[in-house]
């Protein structure tokens, strides 16, 4: 934050979830906004700048939605601390603007009454006035302002000029503003909440002119979308399209990015004027490292586009409603469904998508198990080993054995994830009954293209900035391990066999021997940390197989001659569970705001992988496959 921003008056936007607060924030600040994290927590911090008609420069903070200052989640704690001026890194707000959905004001009015107790200047904005009018809701704003004792203005965030009245009122409020010290605030008890809600109901009745009609569009849609059977079928269809899009639409873009970086790497690799080591560092370390991060960008953009559309539409709350009971059986929250499904494409966008889960514990459990979903990077490894070791024959006349093994690997990952979340819920949180599932289902609204574009842009940028730095440094570390020390003069073996990676491979052979892994496999697993599929290429390098067309098939033939079936099966079991992805670990560190959950994930996955591979190898050998 620069000095100019520090000095500008701060206006904090507070409101119930789904009140259109973010749309208003976007309308006020446009592209002059940034998304970051509050220090030490995973809560998104959205700030933006604007200049009022009177020429006053302001900082606007979009605070997480809440029903009360009585914080129940890390998000709501941020809202409370910022409003109270207790957030250390944040400037206390000069004006609190409470945003309310004009057609659904009951809970917002109670929040205004609570905010008044804080002792800072408060203003109420009735947002989405156009929708309220269409439903025949007329509000006497002067009466409402008089009863509440705060200025009341209306706005239509999604229309040009829809915020003029609000900006004028902000100017008026800030002009004659004494710097007020907040009163001592304490959480209200049940009696106070009850009294405040009754008072809010009385005020609303006195200010309402025209009772309004029910939101018939939303009611009609919900009759189908929340139908116990049809609702689930539609949800699955939506998810299928989404999954397909993340998987298939992203493919050409990902291939293009991948080819672009390969070409760039080749160019650098042929730059004869550079020293050999620098060329290798740029090609295999930096370019391959950056490329392995950026290649995920299309998936992330597509996934977040879908998530934001569903969120803005108001469908996300419905999806959580439909899936709550099914997910609840494994101790997961209804909202964990979409992040876990996304993880079948790649755990990185999946983990980023866990932001839709409000409760911290539910979110951490979801992050913990997301990497167990079979991501697309495992497919090349599975395909290689299955085609080399599993005979291509039919079972019972119509089921392919190879396909069945593939399906088994997916199923093992899913069952593993459910089991881990079941255990984690009890081990880490020590509660049988989780957080109660309670959420408001907003009326359906057409998403605004501008809002979607801003949201996707902000997340793509955040991914590149944050994950890029951490992931790149891990890639460089892996390159160092695989490149040093170089091959001696007159070496006959591939260079990697003389590297630190090979030394580690030999050193850990006693540990991996019970799994049936030889040192060559150990070495392949190290560059495989960069991205799972890299292990295929690494095996090719170690067994000194030329690249080019049909390399994978050649690797398969060589492996079939070198490994036993038990070793191959153990490696498959290992790959289902092993934390073989530095990028995922880096994203977990970023999203959870620390090392603790990254190491927890790494540790439990490593343990599961070891046990699974050990059991597979020993059982397979006992059955005569060794």
């Amino acid at each position: 934050m620069n000095a100019g921003l520090e000095l500008a008056p701060v206006v904090a936007l507070v409101g119930n979830p789904n009140c259109g607060k973010t749309a208003l924030f976007n309308a006020l600040t446009g592209s002059r906004q940034k998304v970051a994290n509050y220090p030490g927590v995973t809560v998104e911090k959205k700030t933006g700048r604007l200049t009022t008609p009177a020429g006053r420069a302001l900082t606007v903070v979009d605070l997480p939605g809440t029903y009360s200052l009585r914080a129940r989640s890390p998000d709501e704690e941020i809202t409370r601390d910022v409003v109270l001026g207790k957030a250390e890194s944040e400037q206390a707000p000069d004006l609190v603007v409470c945003v309310g959905d004009a057609s659904n004001l009951r809970l917002a009015l109670r929040l205004v009454l609570e905010l008044k107790h804080v002792g800072r200047p408060v203003m109420l904005v009735l947002n989405m006035m156009d929708i309220a009018r269409r439903r025949g809701i007329e509000i006497d704003m002067a009466k409402l302002g008089g009863e509440l004792g705060v200025p009341v203005v209306s706005s239509v965030a999604v229309r040009r000029g829809g915020t003029d009245q609000l900006l004028g009122e902000i100017d008026r409020a800030l002009a004659g503003l004494p710097k007020t010290a907040p009163a001592d605030w304490r959480p209200p008890g049940a009696g106070e909440l009850r009294g405040a809600q009754r008072e809010a109901d009385r005020i609303l009745r006195s200010a309402l002119r025209g009772t309004g009609r029910p939101d018939s569009g939303t009611n009609r849609a919900d009759a189908i979308l929340l139908h116990p059977v049809a609702g689930l079928v539609i949800l699955l269809a939506i998810l299928f399209v989404m999954f397909q899009a993340v998987f298939a639409w992203a493919r050409p873009l990902m291939d293009a990015i991948s080819e672009g970086f390969t070409w760039l790497g080749a160019m650098v690799g042929e730059a004869a004027f550079l020293p050999e080591l620098l060329r290798s560092f740029l090609k295999d370390g930096v370019i391959a490292g950056v490329g392995s991060v950026i290649v995920f960008l299309p998936q992330i953009v597509i996934l977040f586009f879908f998530i934001l559309v569903l969120e803005d539409l108001g469908y996300m709350a419905r999806a959580a409603f439909l899936m709550d009971k099914i997910m609840g059986g494994a101790g997961l929250h209804g909202r964990a469904f979409i992040p876990l499904l996304s993880s079948f494409a790649c755990a990185i966008p999946g983990i980023m998508a866990t932001r839709v889960i409000d409760d911290r514990r539910d979110r951490l459990t979801t992050i913990l198990v997301a990497p167990l979903m079979t991501c697309s990077a495992r497919i090349p490894v599975y395909t290689l080993i299955i085609s080399a070791f599993i005979p291509d024959r039919e079972l019972w006349g119509y089921v392919g054995l190879q396909g069945l093994v593939m399906f088994g690997l997916y199923a093992t990952g899913i069952v593993g994830a459910l089991a881990v979340s079941f255990v984690a819920k009890r081990l880490f949180w020590r509660t049988n009954a989780g957080e109660p599932f309670m959420l408001e289902m907003p009326g359906y609204k057409i998403p605004q293209l501008r809002s979607l574009a801003l949201g996707v842009w902000a997340r793509a940028l955040a991914f590149l900035k944050r994950a890029g730095t951490t992931i790149l440094s891990m890639m460089i570390l892996i390159w160092v391990l695989a490149s040093f020390p170089g091959a001696p003069e007159g070496a006959t073996e591939p260079a990697i066999t003389y590297s630190l990676a090979a030394m580690i491979g030999h050193a850990i052979e006693p540990i991996t021997a019970p799994l049936g892994f030889n040192w060559q496999i150990n070495v392949a697993l190290i560059p495989g940390m960069a991205a799972r599929e890299v292990a295929v290429g690494a095996l090719g390098t170690i067994y000194a197989i030329d690249g080019g067309d049909g390399a994978a098939a050649k690797i398969g033939q060589v492996l079939a001659g070198q490994w036993t079936l038990a070793t191959a099966l153990a490696l498959l079991a290992w790959y289902v569970f092993a934390p073989q992805c530095a990028s995922t670990l880096a994203v977990i560190r970023r999203e959870t705001g620390g090392w603790k959950w990254m190491w927890t994930t790494f540790g439990y996955m490593l343990a599961l992988a070891y046990v699974a591979a050990l059991a597979t190898f020993q059982i397979a050998r006992a059955l005569g496959a060794g």
Binding site: R72, L193, H227, D324, E440
Partner: protein
């Protein structure tokens, strides 16, 4: 008040109401919500913050496929989803019993 006895007789927990039920909240009784994972005072405050206050009109709109759980309830102008377990604490009277 001749209506009172009829009202008491017609009182039930929202957690045991069927889809289509319309009525009014008459009381919040935390002793009826079991194993919710929250202390009673916290559950009461959360229900109040979502607008479940005595006197508010409610309608049970939708329920889930398995065990009729969770439920979607219209409270005044808002629609709130919650589980039947927590909704057991919300005592309601059917509209036919209301004065």
């Amino acid at each position: 008040m001749p209506d009172t006895s009829a009202l008491i007789l017609a009182t039930l927990a929202l957690g045991e109401a069927a889809v289509g039920f319309r009525g009014r909240i008459v009381a919040l009784d935390m002793s009826r919500a079991h194993a919710t994972g929250l202390p009673r005072s916290e559950l009461e405050r959360r229900l109040l913050e979502l607008g479940f206050v005595e006197g508010a009109d409610v309608e049970l709109l939708h329920q889930g496929l398995f065990g009729g759980d969770p439920i979607a309830v219209r409270v005044a102008d808002a629609t709130i989803a919650l589980r039947r377990r927590e909704a057991m604490a919300i005592m309601v009277a059917g509209e036919e019993a209301l004065p």
